[in-house]
């Protein structure tokens, strides 16, 4: 009896210390997500909250809605270009820096600092760089491209692919982060492993392919998951570059406009719920896997 009491006495204070955070997160994360789902099946539109049950009405409406199709397509293009671009640039930079270069600290700072800048400031600067007016009004990146005789229209605001241009500032902001993740992964590989392969007569390329590559998969997965969830949520960057432009609109922006500009709260909640599930599908297995791996490592 007293032994049990002692054991309980040992963990109760810990639980008490954690409980305020648990309660707050319980309400603000899990409670709100549930509440949001509940709102999405009501008829709440307009300033006054109403809660008549309408079932999956808003979801069906969204799936039939041209704007939502357009936004989902934009998000898909943005995500693909952004992830592919940031991953390749990040990986390339990490591989080039792997063996140490002169001025590594300075280079690393240069690649990483965009991550500390708000998406709003990033967007404001890049909006001017991506300006695509032809002729006299040519500015920014097109000005530079013009020096080598090219005028690019792919990021022009009336192009089908305007959304892909947003991946450029997004990649500018986050490639350095991917670089840092890969660099940490590369440096975490014990030198003996590479050395052993070299002693066995492997060329440098084969060392990377057979020894380094398999060990980088966990980092690759982390980077993919992080970029994917950032991409799905991206709101302020696009909002700062091209607000209210259907060609660069994504569900995250559509949700904001629907709920907080149009007062269609139930509809906005439905978009947010879809966004939530899209992210949860990626994140839940990732957390589960990370925690299990850590536990087996211990």
């Amino acid at each position: 009896m007293s032994k049990l009491k002692r054991r309980i006495g040992r963990w109760v204070p810990g639980l008490l210390l954690v409980s305020p955070s648990l309660v707050l997160l319980g309400v603000f994360v899990y409670g709100f997500i549930g509440w949001n789902i509940k709102i999405s099946v009501t008829d709440w539109k307009g300033q006054l909250e109403t809660d008549n049950y309408v079932g999956l009405f808003w979801y069906k409406q969204l799936f039939a809605d041209e704007t939502f199709h357009n936004d989902a397509r934009n998000l898909l293009i943005f995500t693909l270009v952004f992830i592919l671009g940031s991953m390749s640039v990040g990986l390339l930079l990490a591989l080039l820096m792997d063996k140490g270069v002169r001025g590594e600290n300075i280079l690393r700072s240069i690649y990483l600092f965009p991550m500390g800048i708000s998406f709003i400031a990033t967007g404001i600067v890049w909006r001017w760089l991506l300006n695509s007016d032809p002729g006299e009004g040519t500015t920014g990146v097109n000005d530079l491209l013009g020096l080598v005789g090219v005028h690019s229209d792919w990021h022009k605001s009336d192009s089908q692919w305007a959304i892909a241009a947003i991946a450029l500032p997004a990649g500018w902001a986050l490639s350095g982060y991917v670089m840092a993740l890969f660099l940490a992964g590369l440096r975490g590989i014990p030198d003996e492993l590479r050395e052993a392969a070299r002693v066995d007569g492997a060329t440098e390329f084969r060392v990377y392919w057979h020894v380094v590559r398999p060990m980088m998969y966990p980092v690759l997965m982390s980077a993919l998951v992080i970029l994917a969830h950032i991409s799905l949520k991206t709101f302020d960057l696009i909002y700062a570059i091209a607000p209210l432009d259907p060609r660069t609109e994504t569900p995250a922006i559509f949700m904001y406009l629907t709920a907080f500009r149009g007062n269609f709260y139930a509809r906005g909640a439905a978009i947010a719920t879809l966004l939530f599930f899209a992210i949860a599908v990626v994140i839940v297995p990732y957390i589960w896997y990370s925690i299990r791996k850590e536990r087996t490592a211990r």
């Binding site: 963990w11 204070p13 810990g14 639980l15 210390l17 954690v18 955070s21 648990l22 707050l24 997160l25 603000f28 994360v29 409670g31 709100f32 997500i33 949001n36 709102i39 930079l93 080039l96 820096m97 700072s109 690649y111 990483l112 600092f113 965009p114 991550m115 500390g116 708000s118 709003i120 400031a121 990033t122 404001i124 600067v125 001017w128 760089l129 006299e136 500015t139 000005d143 530079l144 500018w172 982060y177 840092a180 980092v219 982390s222 969830h229 709101f235 302020d236 995250a252 904001y256 709920a259 907080f260 909640a269 947010a272 966004l275 939530f276 992210i279 994140i283 990732y286 957390i287 925690i291």
Partner: protein, 268 residues
């Protein structure tokens, strides 16, 4: 040969990453008469601070709000995160293995999925519109990452230190306050920087949860420089001003920032 090539590529990327900074600086320091998007890549003929003095009055209030918001939000969130991290790493209770991922999940959710109910609750408890509510929100949504940073840090702490305190008769709170907190200073730096940056850079919470007079700097910035009609130099000058605090934090404490980045990938 390969080394030269390697350095060349790295240098080219450095230029690419600095390109927006170059445009921003040369534009912001031009005199308003000299500014012209067609000559956006040319250096200013003379250094002028006119653009800054034009936009500063419009941003000042937002800068103050963001400071008053980001400092308490990062301090309190880090303290709570330290307590959680300490308990989850060194003073475990049954079910701690479940609690940790449940806390962690909050780091990844799209905030769009909580913001309608949040707006409702904050209105009901009278915290919508002002800074207090926004501070509370940043504290809460910062908890997952700060907990993660401290837990990963404290897991590396040797059990003997904790045992020694326990043998001396110290309870949990005393062990936390006198042993774990002082030892956790490096983790504090990481958590504080991470939190300060994300609170300073947040836009979504700020734009929905505050009235005009309590707008954080990102909302003020978007309002000043977001319109297409705003002169180019003013847009650049205000983007620069609004980025100074996080840039300073980053340049002065970059080492810790790096570690925070690693934590964001669930790594210790």
């Amino acid at each position: 040969m390969t080394r030269i090539f390697r350095n060349l590529v790295l240098f080219a990327f450095a230029i690419f990453f600095l390109m927006p900074v170059y445009v921003l600086l040369v534009t912001a320091f031009k005199s308003p008469g000299e500014v012209d998007v067609v000559h956006m890549w040319t250096l200013p003929k003379s250094l002028s601070f006119d653009s800054f003095s034009l936009v500063w009055p419009k941003l000042q209030n937002g800068m103050v709000n963001s400071l008053m918001l980001a400092i308490p939000a990062s301090v309190i969130s880090s303290l709570l995160g330290a307590a959680n991290g300490f308990v989850l790493a060194k003073w475990r209770f049954p079910g701690a293995d479940v609690v940790f991922p449940v806390i962690l999940f909050g780091m990844f959710i799209p905030y769009q999925a909580v913001i309608i109910p949040m707006s409702g609750l904050m209105t009901d408890i009278g915290l919508k519109g002002g800074l207090d509510g926004l501070i509370l929100i940043h504290i809460i949504y910062g908890l997952p990452i700060t907990t993660l940073i401290f837990r990963n840090y404290y897991i590396g702490l040797s059990e003997e230190v904790i045992e020694a305190a326990r043998v001396d008769g110290a309870g949990m709170l005393r062990t936390f306050a006198y042993i774990a907190l002082p030892l956790g200073l490096p983790a504090f730096a990481v958590a504080m920087i991470w939190q300060f940056t994300s609170a300073w850079n947040d836009f979504l919470f700020g734009v929905i949860m505050t009235r005009t007079e309590f707008w954080p700097v990102t909302v003020a910035l978007n309002n000043v420089a977001g319109a297409q009609t705003v002169p180019f130099n003013q847009a650049m000058a205000s983007a620069f001003l609004a980025s100074i605090p996080t840039l300073l934090v980053y340049l002065l404490l970059g080492r810790f920032f790096m570690r925070g980045l690693m934590a964001g990938a669930l790594k210790g």
